[in-house]
Subunit: 319 residues, 2 copies
Amino acid sequence: MSYTLVIHGGAGNITPAIMNTQQEAEYTIALKEALVKGTDVLRAGGSATDAVVAAICEMEDNPLFNAGRGSVFTKKGLNEMDAAIMDGSNIAAGAVAGVRNIKNPIKLAREVMLHSGHVLLCNEGAGEFALKQGVEMAPDEYFFNKSRYDQWVEIRDTDYTQLDHKGDNLKGGPVTPNTGHKFGTVGAVACDAMGNIAAGTSTGGMTNKRFSRIGDSPIPGAGTYANKKTCAVSCTGHGEYFLRAVVAYDVSCLMEYKGLSLQEACDVVIKDKLVKMGGEGGLIAVDALGNYNFCFNSAGMYRGMRNSEGKEIVGFYGM
Amino acid sequence: MSYTLVIHGGAGNITPAIMNTQQEAEYTIALKEALVKGTDVLRAGGSATDAVVAAICEMEDNPLFNAGRGSVFTKKGLNEMDAAIMDGSNIAAGAVAGVRNIKNPIKLAREVMLHSGHVLLCNEGAGEFALKQGVEMAPDEYFFNKSRYDQWVEIRDTDYTQLDHKGDNLKGGPVTPNTGHKFGTVGAVACDAMGNIAAGTSTGGMTNKRFSRIGDSPIPGAGTYANKKTCAVSCTGHGEYFLRAVVAYDVSCLMEYKGLSLQEACDVVIKDKLVKMGGEGGLIAVDALGNYNFCFNSAGMYRGMRNSEGKEIVGFYGM
């Protein structure tokens, strides 16, 4: 039985200079635990979709990552989360944007895919659907995290947001070492024993986010995409660029229409096209043969891979 | 000075059987007026983006179309609108989803593109941005339309939505002749005298819509896309399929990566791939040489074209 799981926990200015030994150990444990949770599903013959959900839930539950429990605070001091799942076997997709008090947004995204008749729900409306489906909720306190809160307090009276880029018109501050842990998105892609593939992404968005901004994470084709014919992709980075470049689907199209390999397609999109646009970030990808790729144009990306051959990779910094 | 403007007012079960002579005259006038407004901008040397906005505003202001003033009612009896604009000269994009009381959502989308540092804003947050930018608002009464209201009253106590498809899991009723006018989305694509292209789309969504559903219209790559290297595209149809198929960007990729012509690419996406998925609808497209295409797999599509050579086309039914 052959399977592959690949995960990321965000890309950005992740360098040895901003990580001490204890942090390295914490992230290593966190990534390995997510890899175990996802591959447990795959080893038991579960679907790529369920493996992606299991791996992402583990990261959503860990305050280290900006997703689920560890989500950052918006301008109004709230935790608003986005998530998407896509099943490459039937090109089905489900996504939510701007949801609050949902313990695992990725599970709600799966409910949207399976039971809503829709693809993308947002804000209070998505919350109403969550209640209808009996998705697990959590109070504000569950999402409270002192370090995220302090990050927000520092900039809440400004128009600035903090994320993994240096965009002037966003008034986003340049990435500095002590903001290294805020580059947040988590994602997973998997190839299961049936040769099906799936992709999922979950994020708490940007610190001090305003105007119910939606990034690329919950958008099929931009931050998340899966199609058995080509690849499953989950992105992390400066969402506005990933939206405009339709990054995840671009990787798929380069494979389908130009015959590029998974790695060639990822490299063209992330290291050439996106760099020329000024977009910083990365992605993880897998194809139906279990080939996988980590690809980023930022200093680093929290990432991991575990497959049926017993191979395991965990990394943070540039390759 | 060479320019081309193409518009649509929605696709679906638009046949001579559901249109009487007066309705044909009304739609003809409405489409021609939008063509005039857009080409006035182009003839004066204006940008493709501004021409798209001008043409779409005209249709948003006309209660015949499900966009702006003519928007349908949600489950809660509200008018929630989506819109997107994309400028092919720099691949910039701006979009809003679920906005209320915005007179011209397409203008708000342009504000997002030019002044927010973001691509996609939604719901109340997008409304706050509109207030900040001084975008023109309108009271609920402005959007009230007796026939839209009656359509909603008919189904508001059910879980059904009405749009241009026959999806079972949506509990969407099959399209019947007297729902022919609800297939709503409007869009425009333009090629200006500088050879720049742009695309825009605006919609009032689905009657009896719940859960703050977002369709393809405001999503760059799905319902709206523009890139000077390839094409500008605006879609209309069953949004969930258009989202999953990343329709607008797929047309662009088929041109860029496989060398297909504009028409060939549109035909592959709409008449082959989308049909196989079960997705009904259509699109309009233009390239930087002023080549244009109407393409739909439904019975009809409200549409029009006007260019610098004095050619004008207005149509409703199958070609």
